[in-house]
Symmetry: C2
Subunit: 321 residues, 2 copies
């Protein structure tokens, strides 16, 4: 079934796909081929969707929106390509990752190519404020990546550091999607603050749900292998909340498995986490973030586009992919 | 001995180093640490030097120059960090490379961090035209990297493809250094064309000399291992010119060694190349590029800064590092 929010901006989403395809074309065949492979694998396009819905909700009528939304999706795509080298993930969006199908060199250089295309699209907007926002976001995102790397496998990740990492790695680009759209639509300061709160909360919720699905999702629906985060030694919220609630023996075993890359009985780990009641606690946190989203949207008049944004929040709440 | 051109812009070069250090600082310690390690290792700073000398020669008196020059050096630094992952080079500027000292993940993510810092500096210039030039350059450079990757070890590289690659990978950022400086100084169209020809020729000359030093340089002076390009299966101009001049037997042996990563007697390869007279032919090409540089500079009135640019051309002509 078509998602409601996708229906509301059907034409814009078609234009988005066209712009993505045309903007990654290059006279260097390999660049077009590898980038096309990634861009074609779909993905939710959630960041450009937010960008388009926000600008439309604010009555933006100009011609820059699709270019802006495409540049944000390309930025996101570039980070995914480079992430896969870091995590050595074999798959991405249900397909072989670039470094599996080609090699690390292809991932690094094609990732850089996609960044440069995002950068060209941004430059073509001729809007200094938007360029500044996106430059700052790109920086915060890359700092988030380095922070995550510096904390990886060293010790138990604190809840504070976890939230800092997902704020930078995920919520930051959700925020940039909303506030660049608002900047394009010359939105006032109060509404800008509402949209900042809305988009950061949405991004946090999206990422925490993602991390929950990594433990409890359905592989067939998500297209991702269950337990990947744990296998890679990543601490995410379900584990961070469950650990102090486990018996000392279970906690030691869990941490040892995580740190030493031992083969593990992942079903057992899942059961240990479930038994602590951590899932309910994670969901409570998610609910708080979605309440903020709904509350902030109350500051905007009713419109189809606002309905679309509400639909996104609800979809993230019940997300299974 | 201090180089003449470095003396002419001594203060600006001090400011450049300060700006580089301050602009890479981050509240994520690991990002500052790894980036500082690379930025501290020096390097020739040839791109910012060109940028500064050109702007000064054109009487630019504003406050944006050091920021622009720093952003260009950071762009260059980011490409070097990522290049090292691609080539798996153990050293860079006489020190261990990032991926040797840390690992690939650090190289990819810290490279992205440096790009983002370059991008922030550019955005702070508030000059749309300069952002457009640098976005286009970043794109041409990354396409050059992908082109080189697509042609690597497949077949003998043609002279045409070699020139295309070095034009994109090296000359492009030399060009951007000169023409963004000229844009800052509101230079007229004729002079812009002269500066484009000058900087592209300078970049080509610089890279060809670099490729020559890879075969015939002094390891102690260059801080680079002789024969690295050959070992990595890279075709550069000395080899491309020598191959058709070799006996069929020597050519087959040379190509087989290059393609199969066999251990080779590199002294023998060097002698084979020398015997063809290729070195003289490469130097002829270099001389043509420097003649263009000198000729284009005639279009500018005499000044210390112009003398500095002439000094750079002469230094590249006689470069041993």
């Amino acid at each position: 079934m078509e998602l409601l929010y996708k229906n509301i901006i059907k034409n814009e989403l078609l234009q988005l796909e066209e712009t993505l395809i045309s903007s990654i074309s290059s006279d260097i065949d390999l660049a077009t081929e590898v980038t096309g492979y990634v861009v074609d694998s779909g993905g939710k396009r959630i960041r450009p969707v937010i960008c388009i819905l926000v600008a439309k909700m604010l009555n933006y009528k100009g011609s820059q929106l699709i270019k802006l939304a495409s540049s944000i999706e390309l930025l996101h795509t570039a980070t995914l390509i480079h992430d896969d080298v870091v995590d050595q993930s074999a798959t991405r969006r249900g397909k072989e990752s670039i470094h599996s199908k080609w090699d690390n060199a292809h991932s690094v250089l094609v990732g850089d190519f996609v960044y440069s295309k995002a950068f060209q699209l941004m430059a073509s907007l001729d809007n200094q404020e938007i360029i500044r926002i996106l430059a700052d976001s790109t920086n915060r995102i890359s700092e988030g990546e380095v922070l995550q790397l510096s904390l990886k496998k060293k010790e138990v990740l604190s809840k504070k550091n976890y939230f800092e990492i997902i704020d930078r790695k995920t919520a930051e680009l959700f925020k940039a999607s909303a506030i660049t759209a608002a900047t394009l639509a010359s939105c006032d300061q109060d509404k800008l603050i509402s949209l900042t709160n809305f988009s950061v909360s949405l991004g946090m919720n999206f990422q925490i749900k993602d991390d929950l699905l990594d433990y409890f999702g359905d592989e067939e629906l998500t297209g991702k292998k269950i337990g990947k985060d744990f296998e890679e030694g990543k601490f995410t919220l379900p584990l961070i909340i469950a650990l102090p609630l486990m018996s000392e023996e279970d906690r030691s075993m869990t941490l040892e498995t995580l740190f030493t890359e031992n083969k593990c009985d992942f079903d057992n780990i899942i059961n240990l986490i479930k038994d602590t009641g951590a899932v309910g606690k994670v969901e409570e946190i998610c609910n708080k973030f979605s309440e903020t989203c709904f509350k902030e949207l109350e500051n905007f008049p009713e419109s189809d586009y606002k309905t679309g944004l509400i639909d996104i929040v609800e979809n993230i709440n019940s997300r299974v992919t």
